[in-house]
């Protein structure tokens, strides 16, 4: 498999080539219920973030005050959110090796080309359905993105969907009160399913579409992310729904 050019060979004036996506294709499904040889910490305070956000975390420093703010679950191929929120740390999480590899190389290349941008975004190979509590403390996150997730069309596979009643309890646990959960898909049935499940969960309330007109994330999701671009090319409908995490009562 051909690789992108190594960023270490950069000479002044060179631009590091971005990795070419067609060499990083992988089938869309990976079973989150199996073991995947993943590495994860026992608990959040044991995680060393320095390989992912070297500008913000040093390996030995005990007073790392920054924490991951947003997560992009099953990040597929997008890193477009980073420049919109320069002071927030954004983590993409992806279970498929080749996809994670592609995104990582893309981030490395973007960082090499534009010194200070894209230091706030990183990707990690991870099973977000099993191990979120290992990485993040309760109420740590302010935004969670579930963009164009695997639809798992067959009824018996609905339990594998990333938005489910069981998992919404975990997402509510990790999101701070007032934090937002974003969903986007071009599959109408999946959109209706996600809306149904989120509506039914007592800790989430839907943010009406009118209130989202000025939300920079939405424009980014719809127009700039890889999946969004692909869907636009195929002239599909993009459905989105955003929820706010509300207080326990």
């Amino acid at each position: 498999m051909e690789d992108s050019e190594q960023s270490s060979n950069k000479r002044p004036g060179d631009v590091v080539k971005l990795p070419r996506k067609r060499f990083y294709r992988q089938r869309a499904h990976a079973n989150p219920f199996s073991d995947h040889d993943l590495i994860y910490p026992i608990k959040p305070d044991e995680m060393d973030w320095s390989p992912y956000f070297p500008k913000y975390f040093s390996k030995d420093s005990k007073d790392n005050t920054k924490k991951v703010d947003f997560i992009d679950v099953g990040c597929g191929y997008g890193v477009a959110l980073a420049p919109l929120f320069p002071d927030k740390l954004i983590l993409g999480m992806e279970i498929r090796t080749k996809v994670e590899d592609y995104v990582k190389k893309r981030i490395d290349a973007l960082r090499a080309n534009q010194e200070d941008l894209y230091q706030n975004i990183a990707v990690i190979r991870m099973n977000a359905m099993k191990f979120l509590p290992n990485f993040f403390e309760p109420g740590q996150l302010s935004k969670m993105f579930f963009l164009f997730p695997d639809p798992h069309f067959k009824k018996k596979k609905h339990k594998n969907r990333i938005i489910s009643p069981n998992l919404l309890a975990e997402y509510a646990y990790l999101l701070k009160v007032g934090g937002q959960l974003y969903t986007a898909t071009d599959v109408r049935e999946l959109h209706e399913w996600m809306v149904e499940k989120c509506d039914a969960h007592p800790l989430f309330e839907r943010i009406p579409d009118e209130e989202l007109k000025d939300d920079p994330c939405i424009n980014c999701i719809l127009n700039e992310t890889e999946e969004g671009k692909k869907v636009a090319r195929n002239k599909g409908d993009k459905h989105f729904a955003v929820y706010r995490r509300i207080e326990n009562n």
């Binding site: 989150p32 219920f33 073991d35 026992i42 608990k43 099973n127 359905m129 099993k130 191990f131 509590p133 290992n134 309760p138 339990k159 489910s164 009643p165 069981n166 998992l167 919404l168 309890a169 975990e170 509510a172 646990y173 969960h201 007592p202 800790l203 326990n248």
Partner: protein
């Protein structure tokens, strides 16, 4: 014909003993034993049982995904329900009207203890096989343990609110119990070298109890056969005297601990004559040990009393089930449950299977 009881459970003066699909219940005050009138045609192996508070009802989950409620006094089946997946653990609500089951897929369902036909209400789920489930004394929390090193403490009955995760285990968790005189203490064990004692409300580890060293010392001083890994099979607690007993898969050992002021202190080791399948304290403080049975086994059950080193219970009433298979060729691998939770073992088995498949393909080509 001797058969091993692979599950033993006690509640309120009743001891339930299980071999395969057959269940006997011995009443310790009347000394009577009854056998539950199981259907001979559907002889699906029992996976998990639980008594209600006053031991008037026994809930039984089997390999065929059937959930049965039995009247303990009469031995009659009160109700049969279906579960979506195989059940690993059951807990009754205090008033005995409903139960929670934890299954191998990772879900917890609630069922009513009655005759109704119902699908079970989905209460919560991990994305990981569940191994044990508990309800706190005040029933404000439900605790679930899984194969991916997690103990989750969730509000009850509002199970959409997670209270916390008790994180610290490095291997699967197989068993959890409350040290019930102190409401806040939870003891858990599984594939780790340690048992963990938790203040579960605050997700804090109070103590780590080194069982690896204890096992290694016991194996060496008693010339026992060593095992590849240490896997906690059962933890049982005698509340009147604050004693905890722990046993392990494929080992003939029980460790006893005293609980004094929120900590566990090693008390002594019981070296059993056979590999142990399960243990349970009765309300007299006697420890019932169920032995793996082969042609050398003398007793199916050993009962350890505080007053004598070992007390052998007269086995006549417990020995025979009708129409059981020959037990002389008993295969230990049938009783290995917990060890298979270990991820390396599962991966090793998968790798072996793949190699066999490749070998098959090569043969036919």
């Amino acid at each position: 014909m001797k058969v091993p009881y692979h599950i033993i459970k006690h509640s309120n003066n009743c001891i339930a003993l299980v071999f395969n699909n057959k269940i006997k219940i011995k009443n310790l005050s009347t000394n009577e034993t009854i056998e539950l009138k199981q259907d001979e045609i559907n002889n699906s192996k029992v996976r998990s049982i639980a008594f209600n508070n006053d031991a008037s009802v026994l809930a039984v989950a089997s390999d065929d995904k059937k959930l049965k409620f039995w009247d303990v006094k009469t031995g009659v089946c009160l109700s049969i329900k279906n579960t979506p997946k195989k059940v690993n653990s059951i807990v009754f609500e205090k008033n005995g009207k409903r139960i929670l089951i934890a299954d191998g897929f990772g879900d917890v369902y609630r069922y009513t203890v009655d005759n109704s036909v119902e699908e079970g209400e989905l209460m919560l789920g991990h994305v990981s096989m569940l191994t044990d489930i508990l309800l706190s004394n005040d029933e404000k929390y439900v605790l679930t343990s899984d194969r991916d090193e997690k103990i989750r403490v969730t509000h009850y009955p509002k199970t959409y609110i997670i209270h916390n995760y008790c994180l610290g285990h490095k291997e699967y968790i197989s068993k959890m119990i409350f040290i019930s005189n102190n409401d806040k203490l939870l003891l858990s064990g599984g594939g780790d070298d340690y048992l963990y004692l938790w203040d579960f409300i605050n997700a804090k580890i109070i103590q780590k109890i080194d069982i690896k060293t204890l096992i290694e010392e016991a194996i060496e001083s008693n010339n026992l056969s060593s095992v590849e890994s240490y896997n906690v099979k059962e933890i049982t607690y005698y509340s009147k005297e604050n004693i905890v007993a722990v046993c392990f898969e494929k080992l003939p050992l029980v460790f006893l601990f005293n609980v004094i002021k929120d900590k566990l202190y090693y008390k002594n080791t019981i070296i059993n004559e056979d590999i142990i399948l399960d243990i349970a304290f009765d309300n007299f403080g006697r420890l019932w040990i169920s032995n793996f049975v082969d042609k050398n086994t003398k007793n199916i059950i050993n009962v350890i009393s505080k007053y004598s080193p070992v007390e052998y219970l007269s086995n006549e009433k417990l020995e025979f089930f009708e129409n059981t298979d020959e037990c002389e060729s008993n295969d230990m691998s049938e009783y290995i449950v917990v060890e298979n939770l270990r991820k390396e073992i599962l991966d090793a088995k998968k790798a072996q299977q793949e190699e066999e498949n490749i070998a098959k393909k090569q043969k036919t080509e």
